[in-house]
């Protein structure tokens, strides 16, 4: 049971930064914009949040600072890709590189003093429950926030008018423009939201998950989040499941190694990637479904005519 609890909670926690970043990117891509710079925005968020904690600000302020840093970085992308209509692939890649460089520069002065990590919640009765307590009710608040964001984004995208408009902009910006929606402004908001979420993911890494600052501490998680969105065929629930699957396989392969499973560690290390790709490809075999959810104008620059 203890082992199961360790695997289960480890999975949920490992998936949390991916959920934040991938859900943010999902909203961006649904608006027809491809921002490849998640890694850079996460690093900015991680650096700023860590700085805020060492500077003595409270945890909520630090996390907010991380989120805002991600949003600020995404604004840079927005100006390049939306206002100046540069190639979105190039602008996104530039942001990824820029973010890792700038965060490393900011982080030079941080030293590496340990910080107090974000604590798990302690809900009066629930956290004390015998089995369910340690399993479900002792995570840090951001884990629950990630799940709340999943619910909110699913609801927003598919149950609100604003969500419908956002998706319309991603399908056909010309049509949206023709019927009077401010395409560029909507895309800006989506990009900023994506930056906010990537910043949150970064903040989660540096103040909750591994409470320290090291250069490039995201170690590729931004790219995994990006891939998750594609493999999840732009659907929120699959993003969530994909993140859990990836996190779960990561934990399981480590458990397998430590248990002395008779499989080389190199192969076990590849398992999370293999499993996630295989499962998500299997559930996306239906081409029609794929076409239904793929934002038709993804990564195509839009210039309002006239």
């Amino acid at each position: 049971m203890e082992l199961f609890t360790a695997i289960f909670t480890g999975t949920i926690v490992a998936a949390t930064p991916l959920i934040f970043a991938a859900l943010g990117e999902l909203v961006v891509e649904k608006s027809g914009v491809l921002n490849l710079g998640i890694e850079g925005m996460m690093l900015m968020g991680a650096a700023l949040a860590f700085w805020a904690v060492t500077a003595g600000y409270s945890m909520p302020v630090a996390i907010l600072a991380g989120a805002l840093a991600g949003a600020a970085a995404s604004l840079l992308f927005g100006v390049l890709a939306l206002t100046f209509l540069t190639n979105q692939y190039a602008a996104g890649l530039a942001l990824a590189i820029f973010g890792s460089g700038v965060s490393a520069f900011i982080g030079r002065g941080f030293g590496s003093d340990p910080i107090e990590a974000l604590h798990g919640v302690n809900i009066a009765i629930l956290s004390g429950l015998p089995v369910l307590g340690p399993l479900l009710f002792r995570f840090d608040p951001l884990v629950y926030l990630a799940l709340a964001m999943f619910v909110a984004i699913s609801w927003f995208l598919y149950r609100t008018k604003a969500g419908l408009i956002l998706r319309t902009v991603g399908e056909s910006p010309q049509t949206s423009h023709a019927i009077g929606y401010p395409v560029i402004r909507i895309r800006y908001m989506a990009v900023l939201f994506g930056g906010l979420m990537a910043g949150l993911a970064g903040a989660y890494l540096s103040v909750a998950y591994t409470p320290l600052w090291v250069e490039n501490m995201t170690a590729g998680k931004g790219w995994i989040a990006l891939a998750l969105v594609v493999f999840a065929t732009w659907r929120p629930l699959r993003v969530l499941l994909g993140a859990w699957l990836f996190g779960g396989m990561t934990i399981l392969q480590l458990q397998g190694q430590a248990l002395g499973l008779q499989v080389p560690s190199e192969l076990l290390s590849a398992l999370p990637y293999l499993a996630t790709i295989v499962v998500l490809v299997l559930i996306s075999r239906n081409r029609q479904m794929l076409a239904l959810h793929f934002p038709a104008s993804l990564a195509k620059p839009f210039r309002p005519a006239g």
């Binding site: 360790a6 590496s112 890494l205 591994t210 320290l212 090291v214 430590a258 190199e266 290390s269």
Partner: protein
């Protein structure tokens, strides 16, 4: 420390070209009595870790030589193709002694060194030697053996956890020595090993440490370049063993000890030899005796008599009385690899790609 600029390179390489044309490199190199040294780090200098320990060696040269040495340091060079360019530039800029600090600097240095036969190249953790390329390396396994003994004394479960980057001899060997050290005081000790298959991934390292804790390990040794393993162990109430630097401040007071790398003698020694004109490419492979490997202060939670035993063990390894890989050594399947009364050969140590009995994990 002066920054290299592109213009500076061009200037120096121009000067060098002219000098070569008029004959002899050593004449200009010695012209101004200031020793010019180039150092290439594999990562940025952090507060702790591999590159930090190298930067201490550089600092030692500075304090030893004062303004008699001019150091050019370039950090965060990992990829061999970048490294080759950097080494060539440093050589062209008239440095008389050039340090590479990572295994990945090996191939580039082997390419650049023959073109600059008058320049001394020193490669940390290198395996190839040339007429002007020497290597230096630490005997990590001496450190892990002592640390493992500390773990053996303090562990209640007899289960040690080890986290490494890749399953290569440089990591597998020390992991084996860690367990052998623990078994020297508790013959039933075992060691669960996890390889991240990445040199750097704090998130995965954290999960690995938690995994080891959940499987009952109560001493965690993480031979990676961050303090994450030590941190997670401390939070989980387990003992930890640091690597490269003293990581006690991350450990919630639970770091048993750390096997600290001190390259000072390698850096200062090479610089002095070059300055005196007596430098020769050497193969330096030192441990506790030479002080290249040092044990960080033992945790106050270790009883005084155990501390004394550990200090004695350090001395005995230093003097050669105790050898971490002394027979009889068996592999995981129980085959005798080193007979009783003999020790594993140096080549055997450098190429160790098998787990000793009691290691839990599978090497490909």
């Amino acid at each position: 420390m002066n920054e290299l600029t592109r213009r500076g390179f061009l200037k120096y390489s121009g000067a060098l070209g002219a000098a070569l044309a008029t004959g002899g490199l050593s004449t200009i190199a010695r012209a101004d009595d200031v020793l010019k040294i180039g150092v290439v780090y594999v990562s940025p200098i952090a507060e702790i870790g591999w590159t930090k320990q190298h930067s201490l060696g550089v600092e030692a040269i500075k304090s030893e030589f004062g303004d008699k040495a001019k150091l050019t340091v370039i950090d965060n060079i990992f990829m061999p193709q970048d490294a080759e360019r950097v080494f060539r530039e440093l050589a062209s800029a008239g440095n008389q002694l050039i340090f590479g600090t990572s295994f990945s600097h090996g191939t580039p240095m082997q390419k650049v060194a023959p073109r600059f036969p008058k320049i001394a190249f020193e490669h940390c953790s290198g395996i190839v030697h040339l007429a002007n390329l020497g290597t230096f390396e630490a005997k990590y396994y001496e450190g892990t053996f002592v640390a493992g003994a500390a773990g053996g004394y303090m562990s209640k479960s007899g289960k040690i956890g080890f986290i490494g980057g890749f399953p290569i001899p440089d990591i597998v060997g020390p992991a084996n020595a860690l367990l052998l050290g623990a078994q020297s005081v508790n013959p039933n000790a075992t060691c669960n090993a996890i390889f991240l298959n990445s040199w750097f991934d704090p998130g995965k390292e954290k999960e690995a440490a938690k995994t080891l804790l959940s499987q009952g390990c109560d001493v965690i040794c993480s031979m990676t370049d961050t303090a994450t393993g030590v941190q997670v162990a401390g939070e989980g109430g387990a003992w930890s063993i640091g690597y490269a630097s003293d990581m006690s401040k991350f450990s919630s007071g639970k770091q048993l000890t750390s096997f600290v790398l001190d390259w000072t003698s390698d850096y200062v020694g090479a610089a002095k030899a070059v300055a005196a004109g007596t430098w020769k490419p050497e193969v330096r492979w030192d441990g506790l005796a030479a002080g290249v490997v040092k044990m960080a202060p033992y945790n106050d939670g270790i009883p005084a008599d155990v501390k004394a035993k550990l200090k004695q063990l350090e001395a005995d390894i230093g003097s050669g009385k105790v050898h971490p890989y002394a027979g009889e050594l068996k592999d995981q399947d129980g085959n005798v690899k080193v007979a009783a009364g003999s020790v594993l050969s140096d080549d055997g140590i450098r190429g160790m790609n098998w787990f000793v009995k009691g290691m839990i994990g599978k090497l490909s």
